[in-house]
Point group: C2
Chain length 348, copies 2
Amino acid sequence: MGKRITLADVAARTGLSASTVSMVLNNRPGSRIPEATAERVREVAEELGYAPDRTARGLRTGRSEALGFISDEVTITRYASAMVRGILDAAEERNHAILMAETDNQARRIDNAVRLMRTRHIDGILLGLMRARQVDLPADVGGLPVIIVNGHVDGYSSVLPDEHQAGLDAVNHLVAHGHRKIAFIGRAAEHLEPRISWTIGRRLAGIDQAMHDAGLGFVHEVHGADWEPELGYRGADEIFDNAEATAILTANDRIAFGVYLAAQQRGLSIPADISVMSFDDEQLASYVLPPITTMQLPYLQMGRVAAEELLARLDAPLSGAGPDGPPGETLVAMPLIERGSVAAQGAS
Amino acid sequence: MGKRITLADVAARTGLSASTVSMVLNNRPGSRIPEATAERVREVAEELGYAPDRTARGLRTGRSEALGFISDEVTITRYASAMVRGILDAAEERNHAILMAETDNQARRIDNAVRLMRTRHIDGILLGLMRARQVDLPADVGGLPVIIVNGHVDGYSSVLPDEHQAGLDAVNHLVAHGHRKIAFIGRAAEHLEPRISWTIGRRLAGIDQAMHDAGLGFVHEVHGADWEPELGYRGADEIFDNAEATAILTANDRIAFGVYLAAQQRGLSIPADISVMSFDDEQLASYVLPPITTMQLPYLQMGRVAAEELLARLDAPLSGAGPDGPPGETLVAMPLIERGSVAAQGAS
DNA sequence: TTGTATGCGTTATCAG
DNA sequence: CTGATAACGCATACAA
């Protein structure tokens, strides 16, 4: 129940005034204070365990050194929750606090969260989405800087996974392992709608481009918008029946999981009989046998990058060009997580 | 960049003084203000979109209506992250903000988080753990109320899953389905150590008691402290070779997953040939075929209950007995998630 | 019934 | 070089 130590306390203890102590502790360029007294102030502050009251400081300066993180449902969506960690880590490094709220993307709750946070003087807003898609920000952010994490809102900057490159990398990984007869499961026109997905189009474009660049075409393609195991199961069956693929590329891990089931049922071994390569790196991907080689959605890193970018913007001179500029996209690499589901293939 | 509306603004607009407006908006019992003017104040406040500045208010009142949530790694541990959501939801309902930090349970980072939050005047602390175990709280919380979520710290109240009841329920579910020849995988002395697990002992005790109450003993038991698929795979093999179990109870879902693998390899069908019942309800449990019937670790609910309990304690008169009392444990029910892995068994 | 004065802990301005 | 003094926005004891 220790009474809080205030500036006045350390002032009294040093015999100096509060303003002097404040100057020293913030080493303001305004006036040169003799190193002797400055040192003494710092000593006493340390000794007393003085820590500035951020709310009082915030009231005075208008800056709180706190960021708001508003998400739709990254917390409840298990595989996206690492985004939170990335943000927390970056904020901690810069001694900033994170205020958090989750809204299920309901306008009313978003609005509420923004208002609540603004009354608490946050310096900026991070809006996080579980799936990368376009949404609206119905709330009045009152001129606060905003960065969208894993999504898109018209007029704001965002941090997104580099899906195009991931598409390239995935195909190239298969090609590099000697695969030429590749099948694909999961193409769907629906996903090209920005409000369904802002990035899947790029993933597909990357895949197509890499195939084209390698002079290949898919030996079989299974379309489908519902990216669940069921599709993978059905799709793999179809592929086994109609094509001689040596590798199956799936649009996500859940589809890949369905492929595993189908393969198992037919007595086909992965990767000896058929290689599987996928996207997302859900928990699932690491638990099946063999674990799935997949392109990871870098939630942790996206959170970190977004927070760092927001902090950088806050540092920039208020009106200067700085890292402000027009809203843009920062792409975060999707690492290739190499596990056991892709085998080398001799020249076919 | 709309200038903030302050109490002074609405005072000026109504022709009243700031204090009067303040009284009305907080409807203080101090003095009765004529409904006419009160109404007018509320109207103007609404019209101007006035929202009290919480930092200023906090500075004055000492209460911030913000809670700190410090966790070890619930965010990065995918299946525990729902705890965050439970806390956020409860806080939102009460118009409280949540400040969040994650520490990997490192003393330095915990201390840092507590200090950072205290300088921001939080009203209380929620300390969340990914796995229910005993830890220390090395930081000086300065008399702030603290509640531990899913864990134990000497001297503090906590919210925990009701593992004993879950143990009873799991066994009873099997028994109710006619199973008498039950095997168990996952007993381990190591887990009885409080700093490894605060609750597994209760889970096991519940299991044992229910078996005893049903007049049964396990037809086979596989010990093992490393609760991963490997143990389930090995354990199931052992059981298939040595016993005639109709059901296998596993200490967690990952073990159960290993059992699935072993069963598949032997051409045994779940649940036709062998039933499987488990604990935790990881994502994994819902993806395998058939999905696993399991006792859910109620992270969402634990978060919610803990936050509500902390808020209730804050409401209580500072010194009164209230819901304060000696540190205690609040148990949250672990729901039985019935899926497809347990079949009814005729009298054996 | 309502207004005035004061303070919460800081920082910033401006004299001394 | 340093110390009063004011102000941030609000709530409250007290005076009117």
